[in-house]
Structures are given as structure tokens and as C-alpha cells.
């Protein structure tokens, strides 16, 4: 019958109209600024740098300026300059740190590859999305002070992932300490103070005379180790 399809369609729209008053499945509007969206844990927007503490973010950055993320970033939105000196990190071990670390969020495509390639769990994805600005460079180019966020914040936004990372880092720390202890014992037992080459290669962090209780992030070798990037030529 001509017109049957139209009437059927009208019934559907009527069902949705009435349903939107009592059926949550048909009333889906989220009142955004008043009601903040429930972001899933996996949600990612822009990267941030993890620091161990909130009091001294610059002193406790996990980043050691290895520049792997800078090299792998597909749109090249990360800029790092290594420090000339070394500073003690959260555990007191002297480390190179990023003198400059900038991310241009106006270029970043939120692909998360920097997080995947980072062997130090130093860069993670933030969930902040309300960052519209009126100034291109002033508002969207983030330097390391703006990028640094404490580990506690990381736990807050990605609880499961952060717990895994903490566990892994602690295990690596324990393993490194164990190796350092064994190396020290072997050194004490041997008549000549010669570190076996194999041990040195296996645990570069532990091979150096490190103070007790030091972490050795360098020992957490990535699955796919790459040679350290060549020293950067002086930038213009």
C-alpha cells in the first residue's frame, strides 16, 4: 500500500520522541560543561612528562633526554636538548636531564608512539582536552615546566597502567641493586678489581660505581635497543 512506509517511519520517529523522555538509551545528550565526560582510562590526548614528586618536578623528571621519542615522533613535534651537566635524579643517581623539552601541541597527532618507544616510562599521555587557546605559540607550545606532571597524577588518570609501570620499575630497581650487590661482592672477592666484561655489558647501570640504593634506569634495556643518538650538532 502506498504510504505504509511513511507511516512506519513516522511511528519510529514518534517512538524516539516519546522514548527520549523516559528511556536513557534514547536520550543520549551529555551536558558537557556542566557534566564532565567520563573518559575511559585508555583515553589519550597529549603527552606529558612524568616526575616522581610534585614538589620538585624539574629535579625528579624520569626523562634522561635520550631523544628516542624526538626521533620517532611521526610529525616531529618534540624538541629536546640534552643538559651539559648531570643532576641527581629522584634516587640520587647522576643523570643527564633535558635542558629543553618542548612539545608543540598544535602539531601533535596524539598517536602515542613516543610513549611506546620510551624505555624509561618518562613520557605518558595526558587526558586534558579543554586547552583551547587564543595564542598559537604562547598557548600551544608547551615547555618542560608545563609538561611535567607528578606520578600521582599519572596514577589518577591511568590507574591500571601506572600501577603496572610502578611495579615494573620497582622490579628493575631491585634487579639492578641485586646485580650491583653481586658485582660488589665479586669485586671484593677477586684479588684484582676487574669487572667482568659480561657483567658490565649486562648491567651498565650497575657496572659503574653507583651509590647504594641507586636506580639504574639504563639497565631496563628496551626490547629493541638502538644505538644512542649521535650528539646533536649545535642548533641555530
Amino acid at each position: 500500500m502506498l504510504g505504509k512506509g511513511l507511516l512506519q517511519g513516522l511511528a519510529v520517529t514518534a517512538k524516539n520522541l516519546v522514548g527520549s523522555y523516559h528511556d536513557p538509551a534514547r536520550y543520549v545528550t551529555q551536558e558537557y560543561p556542566e557534566v564532565q565526560p567520563k573518559l575511559p582510562e585508555a583515553y589519550r590526548n597529549f603527552p606529558f612528562l612524568v616526575s616522581e614528586t610534585a614538589d620538585d618536578p624539574m629535579g625528579t623528571l624520569r626523562c634522561v633526554a635520550c631523544q628516542i621519542c624526538e626521533k620517532e615522533c611521526p610529525p616531529q613535534c618534540i624538541y629536546i636538548e640534552k643538559s651539559k651537566d648531570k643532576k641527581p635524579d629522584a634516587t640520587g643517581k647522576a643523570q643527564i636531564y633535558p635542558a629543553v623539552f618542548a612539545i608543540d601541541t598544535a602539531v601533535c597527532m596524539s598517536c602515542q608512539i613516543c610513549v611506546e618507544v620510551c624505555p624509561f616510562d618518562a613520557i605518558k599521555m595526558d587526558q586534558e582536552f579543554a586547552i583551547a587557546a587564543t595564542d598559537r605559540f604562547g598557548g600551544l607550545l608547551l615547555n618542560r615546566e608545563q609538561l611535567a606532571k607528578p606520578n600521582a597524577y599519572y596514577h589518577q588518570i591511568h590507574p591500571t597502567e601506572a600501577a603496572e609501570v610502578d611495579e615494573r620499575l620497582a622490579a628493575e630497581r631491585r634487579a639492578a641493586e641485586e646485580k650491583a650487590r653481586l658485582a660488589a661482592a665479586a669485586k671484593a672477592a677477586a684479588p684484582k678489581p676487574a669487572v667482568p666484561a659480561a657483567a658490565a655489558a649486562a648491567a651498565p647501570g650497575a657496572a659503574r660505581p653507583a651509590p647504594a640504593g641507586s636506580t639504574a634506569p639504563a639497565a631496563s634495556a628496551p626490547v629493541d635497543p638502538v644505538p644512542p643518538p649521535a650528539p646533536r650538532p649545535p642548533s641555530p
Binding site: Q8, G9, V12, N16, E41, A42, Y43, S110, Q112, M125
Partner: protein
């Protein structure tokens, strides 16, 4: 021309209520010579119904189209050149932005090409997860397409609104798995980046179980609607022989009655393990293209159901599979899958370094546009708009 027998197993014809049988007049214009003055009109690149920045240079005789030349390149963002300067892993997030409605299938096609090029095996669980995500993506694409097509027909708002309501549900799944609504960057060489959790699978199960009801409602709204039938039946007929010769793939080709589906033909991934039919059309008009997509969604639901039930355990990604710093042996590979819009393929040439020397995207909607002029000749401008809508283009992959 030889075509597989439609009666062979695995093909399902669209069911079609003939508008003419209901007394509807279906448009059947024929080009006439020299009836009046010719008028040249440029449709686009800013036009609400060109699905992005696409332009058609149309020559009109009255309301009838006598010539139509598509103009491309308004979204040509040098994807292929960038791919030649980026590592194999670094190109993965760029593929998200090709057909930006279906990042999951783009990722898969690219991962498949790299896996062929470098000979990387894929884990069993990942193959199932890929099927699940590709079929969810197909649901998403076809639902949105139906909404956009109806928008082009003049059903302003309502079908698109319902389609986007369902799209959000699928996007929520993508987001909770991959971290992003649209740009999933999910596949890796040899598997997937994240292992779906039990909660995620349960949520997917809920969506899949409820999707059939939504489709019933959506079809009640549209498929039998007399205005839709009068508007779409008999418009833009594509003969099967031309479709094959012009490289048309996907639902466009199947609507013309050719049962060509790479999930069956190539049997890539674990698709041969699933039992599903390939819907084909009869007339190859806009209505058939719409209807084939509706039926494909039903089959997708069936595949999803089977894949969710058969999902094996095990690793999602071989930890030995190299992602960063991948350097395949010098050689080349062409990998293709059945994307929601048709055959999406990647042709990669490696010279043994970390970047491909040639990175080519075979974009289905670009090749499908070859026959746009043939379909539109003799029709009115309003028909050209729905013919373009039924081709289902996304400018991100047309222009790359």
C-alpha cells in the same frame, strides 16, 4: 563477461520493494541532444553535499547533466610523500587519517602490507580482534553512510541523528580500547597494540546483541519509505561489466550484482572460518547500494557474534615482532583488504632501509569515483548529489 553464479553459496540478493509496483514514478531521464542552452555550474569544493572538499564541474542542459568532471586535490595532503620519509611504524598513525571514518580497517590494510613485505606472522588472537574491529568499523561506516545519504536525499537530520547516536556507541568502544575515538592507531605488525579486556569484550557483546534491533528500526524508518524509493530507485544504474572494468569495489560493485568480496576471494585473516553471506544487488542503482550496505551490516553482526564466541586466548602481539626500526629486505608487496568502502590496498617498496622508497595507497573511494560521470549523465543535479552520496567517498583517501 563472466561472473560468478549468484546462486552459488554465500550470496544474498537484496530484497526490494519495487517503487513502480506501488505506483511511484521512478526517474528515467535520457540525454537529449541540443535541447537548450548549456549552463556550466561548479559544485563545490565548498558545497554542503559533496562530503568534504570535492568539486564537480557540471554542464547542464536545463536540469539535465550533459557533462560532469570531478575535480580532486582539495585535500591532497601528500600522504604518500610523507610515508616515504617516515619509518614503517611512523606511518601507522597517518593511515588513520586516510579514510577517517574507518581507521581500524586502514590500520589493518597497512599492517597486512607490511606483514607481507617483511614476512611477519600474526598471532591467532590478534587475527580475531582484527576481525572484530573491522566489522565494528563496517557497522559504523555503513550506518553513517546511510545517514549521510538520507541527508543528501533531503531527509534532513533525523536519520543522520540516529546514525550518529549509534556511531557514538561504537566510538566509545574504540576509545576505551585504543584511547582515541577516531584515530585509533591500533594495529601493529604481527598483532594489535592492546589486548582487549573481558569488560571490553562484554561491552562489545552488548552492542552487537542490540545492533540488530537498531537496524530493524532504522530500516523501518527508511527502507520501505516511499519517498526514499522514489528518490533512489532507478537512479545512477551501474552495469556490472562497467563496474568491474572501472575497478569499482566494495558495496558499489556488489550492488551491481557482482559477488566480489575480498573476505571471501582472498580469505585474508581468519575470515574463512566464519560463516557469512555476501549481499548483492540487482539493478546497481542508488537504492541497491543502500540496501546492500544494510544487508552487509546484518552479516557483520553475524561475523561479530562468531568472532566474539571463537576468540582464542594467547598473546595479542608477538613480542619478538619488530615494530620500531623495522628494515624489511629489499622487495615489494601489495596487501589489500575489504574495507567498508571497497578494496583498500597498500603497495610498499622497500630498499632495505627503515623507510619505504614507495608507499602507495590504493584508495577505494578514489577509484570508485571513476564512474561518477557515467552514473550522472542524463540525471538532474539533485540526483547527482545522491549518486555521489551512494558512492560513499571520504576525501581523506580520495585525495590522500
Amino acid at each position: 563477461m563472466m561472473l560468478p553464479d549468484p546462486a552459488a553459496t554465500g550470496l544474498a540478493r537484496v530484497r526490494k520493494i519495487e517503487g513502480a509496483a506501488l505506483g511511484l514514478r521512478t526517474p528515467a531521464f535520457a540525454p537529449e541532444e541540443g535541447a537548450g542552452d548549456l549552463l556550466e555550474v561548479s559544485l563545490g569544493p565548498h558545497h554542503p553535499s559533496t562530503h568534504g572538499v570535492f568539486r564537480m564541474d557540471v554542464v547542464l542542459d536545463g536540469e539535465r547533466i550533459v557533462r560532469l568532471k570531478p575535480v580532486f586535490g582539495y585535500l591532497h595532503r601528500n600522504h604518500e610523500k610523507l610515508g616515504e620519509g617516515t619509518s614503517y611504524l611512523g606511518s601507522m598513525p597517518y593511515t588513520d587519517r586516510l579514510d577517517y571514518l574507518n581507521s581500524m580497517t586502514n590500520n589493518w590494510a597497512y599492517a597486512l602490507a607490511v606483514e607481507k613485505l617483511a614476512g611477519i606472522p600474526v598471532t591467532e588472537r590478534a587475527e580475531y580482534v582484527r576481525v572484530i574491529l573491522a566489522e565494528l568499523s563496517r557497522l559504523l561506516n555503513h550506518t553513517c553512510l546511510a545517514g549521510f545519504l538520507m541527508q543528501d536525499c533531503g531527509c534532513s537530520g533525523t536519520p543522520l541523528m540516529y546514525a550518529f547516536r549509534e556511531r557514538e556507541k561504537i566510538l566509545d568502544l574504540f576509545e576505551s580500547l585504543s584511547g582515541s575515538r577516531m584515530m585509533c592507531n591500533f594495529q601493529r605488525f604481527g598483532g594489535c597494540r592492546v589486548d582487549p579486556s573481558a569488560e571490553w569484550l562484554a561491552a562489545t557483546r552488548t552492542l552487537v546483541d542490540g545492533y540488530g534491533a537498531f537496524l530493524d528500526e532504522f530500516e523501518a524508518l527508511l527502507s520501505g519509505n516511499e519517498i526514499v524509493m522514489a528518490r533512489t530507485q532507478g537512479v545512477g544504474r551501474l552495469p556490472a561489466a562497467l563496474a568491474v572494468n572501472a575497478g569499482v569495489t566494495g558495496p558499489m560493485l556488489r550492488a551491481s550484482g557482482v559477488g566480489h568480496d575480498l573476505r571471501k576471494v582472498d580469505g585474508y585473516g581468519v575470515y574463512p572460518r566464519f560463516n557469512f553471506r555476501v549481499p548483492i544487488g540487482r539493478d546497481g542503482d542508488v537504492y541497491d547500494r543502500y540496501m546492500v550496505r544494510m544487508l552487509e551490516m546484518r552479516e557483520s553482526i553475524s561475523i561479530l557474534d562468531q568472532a566474539l564466541r571463537g576468540l582464542p586466548g594467547g598473546p595479542i602481539l608477538d613480542p619478538k615482532a619488530k615494530q620500531r626500526g623495522l628494515r624489511p629486505k629489499a622487495g615489494e608487496a601489495y596487501g589489500r583488504i575489504e574495507g567498508p568502502k571497497g578494496e583498500i590496498g597498500f603497495f610498499l617498496v622497500s630498499d632495505g632501509t627503515g623507510n619505504p622508497t614507495r608507499y602507495r595507497v590504493r584508495a577505494p573511494s578514489f577509484v570508485n569515483l571513476t564512474i561518477l560521470e557515467d552514473l550522472c549523465l542524463g540525471h538532474s543535479v539533485a540526483d547527482a548529489v545522491i549518486i555521489l552520496g551512494s558512492i560513499d567517498i571520504v576525501l581523506g583517501e580520495v585525495d590522500r
